[in-house]
């Protein structure tokens, strides 16, 4: 086999050397080609072509302004094909099809150069680094939302104290939900703008309340998450107090809802005192707390549902919808098993059941409920977003599979009368959590089984569409209550009947 060298000279055609080197590389990779180069015919380049054994009589007369295509191939056909291909590339010298590479800043500093008018930074980095990033944000005059969890408590305290001194708001750590000026951040639902401002130490609590407000025809101004530890003694409610100040000044927020687990007593006193001075009607829901003295402008709600209704002017005593007709539950079945993806939804269900005189245990017990490990109560309500379930796995709101085993077990358990579950929709949540639960229920099968009751936290405007999710649950024989509190109440009624 004899080697073939073919040169073609394109007179007066200039292309940048890097572009030509890229073309050279692709031509040299063609079948049958030993070596190939596209170069401007400068004396230095012709020297390189000679050294590479690529120059023939045609190429050696090229001038600096001429483009030389030089190919050395195993046979004439391969050489001709390569030269033809090179010609095609030269006649379409674009390197790409016009895609524009996107730019994503790596640092807060670069992001602020790009969007100098920004007022808030959302921080989602491993917990050990979150406080450092948040500190940068507040020192640059931004409010910070910290999505990260596993932030040391001491970091949170120091950070929030600095923020207080700087006049900045820190939402979180472990702040999963916020809606600021109608912009949903992290896990949040698409709810209309309106007059209710929400402050919440809990993500799903904010979601449930904002969705119920939306379904009652009202809307929200802002939903400010403060993080689950904000009302602890150590943190002292710094962010909650700051958020109350902000809502007090915000003309769009006509009414205020405050949602939290029961705070430390002295923190509670400080928060209620601040609340009394904001000059706006307020609803306080410390899920699981006993009746407390409230300031004149505030009412206490005992469930998220009640908080939502009161904040839109509906009386909290509005009777809940009655339990629809359901098949009789076999006598041996007495237990309610709650499988929750939302921690506050789990707490609310406990509060409802305790109010209904049903003893409950939970892995996240509210005051009056027993710890799950004691086996003291028949009914067990599990927060499946708890660390013990999510270590190394996504949260059940993102991947509902975490709950599948528990659903199977509960359905196979002959002592379980009612299985209670929450479905949480919105940005960040799984695309079809109801469909997933329906499949798990169908797969578990069984003719004689527990009654399934669920509620759907979400709106028609959410990506998953609430009515579509409800239809999927009902199709699988799952009763759908209008709210999480209603679902818990139905569960009580079903076992007590």
């Amino acid at each position: 086999m004899s080697r073939v060298i073919v040169n073609r000279v394109r007179k007066g055609l200039y292309l940048d050397s890097v572009a030509l080197m890229r073309f050279s590389r692709s031509i040299a990779g063609l079948a049958g080609v030993e070596e190939a180069a596209l170069m401007m015919g400068t004396p230095a380049n012709l020297g390189i072509l000679v050294e590479a054994g690529l120059l023939d009589g045609a190429g050696e007369h090229a001038k600096g302004g001429d483009l030389v295509i030089a190919v050395r191939a195993r046979d004439g056909d391969s050489a001709d094909a390569a030269v033809a291909k090179a010609g095609e590339l030269l006649d379409q010298p674009r390197l790409t099809r016009g895609e524009t590479a996107a730019w994503r800043p790596r640092t807060l500093r670069a992001a602020l150069n790009q969007v100098p008018e920004a007022t808030l930074a959302l921080i989602s980095v491993p917990g050990d680094f979150a406080a450092a990033e948040a500190r940068k944000a507040i020192r640059r005059g931004l409010d910070a939302m910290i999505f990260s969890d596993n932030v040391p408590l001491a970091d949170e305290v120091a950070l929030k104290r600095e923020a207080r001194d700087l006049g900045r708001l820190v939402m979180g750590p472990d702040c999963g939900t916020a809606i600021i000026n109608g912009v949903p951040l992290a896990f949040a639902n698409r709810v209309p703008s309106g007059a209710v401002g929400i402050i919440g130490a809990s993500g799903t609590g904010i979601q449930e309340v904002s969705c119920l407000i939306a379904r009652n025809g009202a809307g929200i101004s802002h939903a400010i998450g403060v993080g689950g530890r904000d009302l602890s003694e150590a943190v002292g409610g710094i962010s909650t107090l700051r958020a109350l100040d902000m809502l007090a000044r915000d003309p769009a927020s006509e009414r205020v809802v405050l949602i939290s687990k029961p705070p430390a007593p002295e923190v509670s006193a400080r928060v209620l005192e601040k609340l009394s001075g904001i000059g706006k009607p307020a609803t306080v829901c410390f899920v699981g707390a006993p009746p407390m003295a409230m300031p004149a402008n505030a009412v206490q709600a005992f469930t998220l549902r009640e908080a939502a209704l009161r904040s839109v002017g509906v009386s909290g005593e509005t009777p809940p919808p009655a339990l629809p007709p359901v098949p009789t539950i076999a006598p041996g079945r007495r237990e309610i098993r709650g499988l929750f993806s939302g921690g506050t939804l789990c707490a609310e269900a406990q509060a409802v059941m305790l109010a209904g005189k049903i003893a409950v245990a939970s892995n996240a017990p509210i005051p009056g409920a027993a710890p799950a490990s004691t086996g003291a109560a028949e009914s067990l309500l599990l927060d499946m977003g708890d660390d013990s379930y999510t270590r190394g796995r996504p949260h059940p709101m993102i991947d509902p599979e975490v709950r599948d085993d528990a659903v199977r077990q509960a359905m196979a358990d002959p002592s379980v009368a009612v299985i209670l579950a929450d479905i949480v929709l919105g940005f960040g949540a799984h695309g079809d959590p109801a469909g997933h639960l329906a499949r798990a229920v169908r797969a578990a099968g069984g003719a004689e089984r527990a009654l399934l009751i669920a509620s759907v936290t979400g709106t028609e405007a959410d990506p998953q569409i609430r009515s579509v999710q409800i239809a999927k649950l009902e199709e699988a024989g799952i009763l759908v209550a209008p709210s999480n509190a209603d679902a818990a109440r139905w569960a009580c009624e079903a076992v007590q009947r």
């Binding site: 890229r22 400068t42 054994g53 030089a70 524009t100 590479a101 790596r106």
Partner: protein
């Protein structure tokens, strides 16, 4: 703690201020021995942090042998090699003598050096004349053609260019580079615009001071035929700008980045003259016909002084073609290189702007804290030498500075500031 942060901020503001205030002017071409009085006979200045013969890479050894023959210290390459092994030559970094050199960076007594004076601070920096493309000493070439060209630069071109420069006020480089950026130069791999501007600025005086027309014609053709002629001027300029930024207590700004083909080294303003070194990386790039990555020597040269002042890989957005060495090679990718370098720099140079990026200034003042925090290493545009002595350039590409240098530097800086 806050006091330290405040001191660093003040020091860095001073450092960046000195960078921007620099007024580099090309004033002369004179023999290296005259420019650098401490440069002795048989002393060889090389690129990068200190390196001895034992650890020197192939192309640098090739260049050492060539320059020894050129200086008349050895009759031939073989003898020169032997002498080098026996310790006959004193190897020192260019950076320790106010000088810089591309790739192997050979600077010796009789070579002509271009003189750039920073008129804002009164310091001078030196660099040899760019030899052109193909087989050249900076890439390790050392045959008769290479040495003949060096002799002509010493005896013909250098004196002619020096005469021309001395007949005027010197050529201010800051506005020239600003203009080059608008013409598609980034001053490391693209110097076509600035080379043309320099030719335009030099040729009247060169003609006026020319001894003979043939020599003049050859000199002008030499500049006009070498797209990279301006690179060495840009390097001396970079050195002249950065030297006044050295030794500012509490500053975290990088004052030099440099490679000797074996190690990459950086110097930081607040840590004095210490080099922080790590093994050099291999460039990602494209190769001339007949060569592949297997032929390539790792990263080499003092030319990274260009990146240190915010040009080269930092100004990639001005020269989109250069981004073609890596990735898809789009103009938007080129701009992203510049944007990402802004993540590790203190500010922008308001006088050196990139039209296609809405006249954004080139990112200037590399802060070791930002490099360590972001994990973004400086991007460097570079030529690639053959790993064996005597062969020369085989390609070009893009390479990253090793992060380890910056980690070391930050630790040393923290020690010095009393932070554990």
């Amino acid at each position: 703690m806050n006091d330290i942060a405040g001191r660093i901020e003040t020091a860095n503001r001073e450092a960046l201020g000195r960078m921007i205030a620099g007024d580099p002017v090309l004033v002369d071409v004179i023999p290296a021995a005259e420019a650098i009085p401490s440069l002795q006979d048989r002393m060889i200045l090389h690129a990068g942090p200190p390196v001895d013969w034992e650890r020197m890479c192939g192309p640098m050894r090739g260049a050492v042998a060539g320059i020894a023959v050129f200086e008349g210290w050895a009759p031939d390459l073989e003898t020169a090699n032997r002498m080098a092994g026996e310790g006959a030559f004193d190897f020192r970094p260019n950076h320790h003598f106010d000088a810089v050199g591309p790739m192997t960076g050979m600077t010796t007594i009789s070579q002509p050096v271009m003189v750039v004076e920073n008129r804002a601070f009164g310091n001078r920096a030196y660099c040899t004349i760019n030899e052109g493309l193909g087989k050249v000493m900076r890439f390790g070439g050392n045959d008769a053609e290479v040495l003949d060209r060096l002799r002509w630069l010493r005896d013909g071109f250098g004196p002619a260019m020096g005469r021309a420069l001395r007949s005027g006020e010197g050529i201010p480089l800051k506005p020239l580079v600003a203009r080059g950026l608008t013409m598609g130069d980034e001053m490391h791999q693209r110097n076509v615009g600035c080379t043309g501007l320099m030719l335009r600025a030099l040729s009247p005086a060169m003609a006026a001071s020319a001894g003979d027309l043939d020599g003049l014609a050859r000199a002008l053709a030499f500049i006009g035929g070498n797209d990279q002629f301006f690179l060495n001027i840009a390097m001396a300029m970079g050195k002249a700008i950065m030297d006044p930024v050295r030794d500012i207590e509490a500053s975290t700004i990088v004052t030099a980045m440099s490679r000797n083909g074996t190690e990459f080294g950086i110097r930081v303003s607040g840590t004095g003259d210490t080099w922080f070194t790590a093994p050099v990386e291999m460039p990602e790039g494209l190769y001339f016909p007949g060569f592949t990555e297997a032929d390539a020597n790792p990263d080499m040269g003092d030319s990274t002084i260009v990146e240190t002042v915010g040009l080269g890989g930092f100004a990639m957005g001005a020269a989109p073609a250069v981004a073609g060495f890596v990735g898809a090679g789009t103009a938007s990718e080129a701009a992203n290189f510049t944007r990402s370098m802004a993540e590790i720099t203190l500010g922008e140079n308001p006088e050196w702007t990139i039209p296609a990026m809405d006249y954004r200034g080139v990112p200037s003042g590399i802060d070791i804290r930002l490099v360590v925090e972001t994990g973004l290493a400086p991007t460097i545009n570079t030529g690639i030498a053959h790993r064996e002595p005597g062969i020369g350039q085989v390609g070009a590409g893009v390479v990253r500075a090793p992060l380890a240098c910056f980690h070391q530097a930050l630790r040393a800086f923290a020690d010095r500031m009393g932070v554990s």
